[in-house]
Amino acid sequence: MELPLLLEMGADAFPDRAAIAGPAGPITLGALYERARGAAQWLLRQEGDKLVFIGLNGPQFPLALFAAGLSGRPFVPINYRLPDHDLRRLLARSAPAVAVVDAGMIARIAGVEGVTAITPEDFAAKAIAQDLADGDRAPLHETAILLFTSGTTGEPKAAVLRHTNLTSYVISTVEFMGAPDGDAALVSVPPYHIAGISAVLTNIYGGRRLVYLPAFSPESWIDLALAEQVTHAMVVPTMLDLILNMLEQRGERLPALRAISYGGGRMPLPTIERALKLLPQVDFVNAYGLTETSSTIAILGPDDHRAAFGSQEPAVRRRLGSVGRPLPILELEIRDEAGAVCAPGVAGEIHVRGAQVSGEYLGKSILTADGWFPTNDAGWLDEDGYLFVEGRLDDVIVRGGENISPGEIEDVLRLHPAVDDIAVLGLPDDRWGERVAAVIVLRADHDPAVDDLKQWVQTRLRSTKAPETWEFRDKLPYNDTGKVLRRMLKAELALTAPGN
């Protein structure tokens, strides 16, 4: 089953329903489908075998996504925040292609061979100008999306998401046109992130109007949520923290808002606790997933949030820091280095298998012979099947043979009154192999002694987990989906921090 059918079904059953909010009123499902067919007709007459998207969020993004599918061309959103050199290299790897590029970014990609660039506005105009009466139906392509992974080491890999991966996720987790009339989803995650793609698919299929915020700031997010009576939103942890600050400052409470889902990075406990207190009418959903799994594979639902938040029992309370339970439509296992399945409470590598799981990069699949995808994420399941994600396997600190999760130490230090932000990482150590290092941003007017911070960790965890190297910064480096760039800090500290 192909992506465009998700839109075609809605356009057939509810042609007048709003699909995307726009300045001149909403674009309906019927109009969006017609324009996507028009754009596909135009694409079929252009050179190239892919459709690239380089630009901010906006109504032209879903149009391009569906037009690509209808024209049988893989859709390739590329991160416009990359330095020019990297952006041009990824674009060159996608050639020959048509590229929809924001007007202000076209100069950055000038001269890349095999690429026909067009602005989103011109692309939309082409979509409307086509005669659909004698339109061709393109032969379909198995690949729906190529998404370059952030590439923390070496050249970024292009993850391959097939139509069947994405549609199986959508039709088994979303009720067709199940959203009540008037529901609206605010999208502020970037278009080159898997969450930006799944937002289009699930909201279109569910009948929820898409509201695009081109560039995030807490003020503009709140203003748009109020203006469009937004009922649902997906955010990354850093966005939620900024939104909460602004809501407190403005005394605003967003009465129409019913649900916030979050993911893309570790959510600090104090942030989610503050959110639950400040917005009691909102259902919070923690969604864990990877590009290679077509988005969400585990969910901590609204009831889980409230039960954990209201519980005094440590085993239930700590679930607020979990990503909930695996979706019922897939299998998930924790395996040790030898490949054996781990018992509850024992950490290992998260493995997942199911129709939505691609586990494939251009040129090679990393699925095991029996279809399991090793995620390279470390984690463990509790007795009731709640999944705790510890981060990338490469981030786990191995000190004297003991595996230490940076996230656990960060969570503890985040509760210290002097700590505003924190990243924990492993540094090379002659004696232990690796030692624990903490990089801290202090709150204004706080100047704690290092011994005090060390003591704070020792009394709550155990002494081997207390950082031995302490570094203080004005701020920490994040990528734009809210993941702290440990690798960057690690490289800096390896140069500057003293040995043992």
């Binding site: 059953a13 379909l140 067709f176």
Partner: protein
């Protein structure tokens, strides 16, 4: 009929259309409204709705045959109901998940 995953079929007796999600494990005839369905581009029909197969098809619902494993998604609604070799297919109830996107 070869019920390949992703292949689309339409009813000759009503507006129903389906897409195959999972193929059957043996050869079957997919029917709607009491008649074999045809490929969406096919101009056969029309045929009269058989009353015993007029319960209707609901867009967005998945229909599943426990015997052969065939599963289809209704892409368009219609008055006829889906069956396989004369066996009416029940709706596969999906567990609704909270929105995460």
């Amino acid at each position: 009929m070869e019920l390949k995953p992703g292949s689309r079929w339409k009813s000759v007796a009503c507006n129903s259309e389906v897409v195959v999600i999972r193929p059957p494990n043996s050869a079957v005839t997919l029917q709607c409204g009491g008649h074999p369905m045809v490929a969406t581009g096919d101009a056969s029909g029309p045929a009269e709705l058989v009353p015993a197969h007029s319960g209707g098809t609901v867009a967005g619902k998945r229909y599943f045959d426990t015997e052969t494993g065939v599963e289809v998604l209704a892409a368009k609604a219609g008055q006829g109901s889906i069956s396989v070799d004369g066996r009416p297919l029940p709706v596969k109830e999906a567990k609704a998940l909270p929105s995460s996107d």
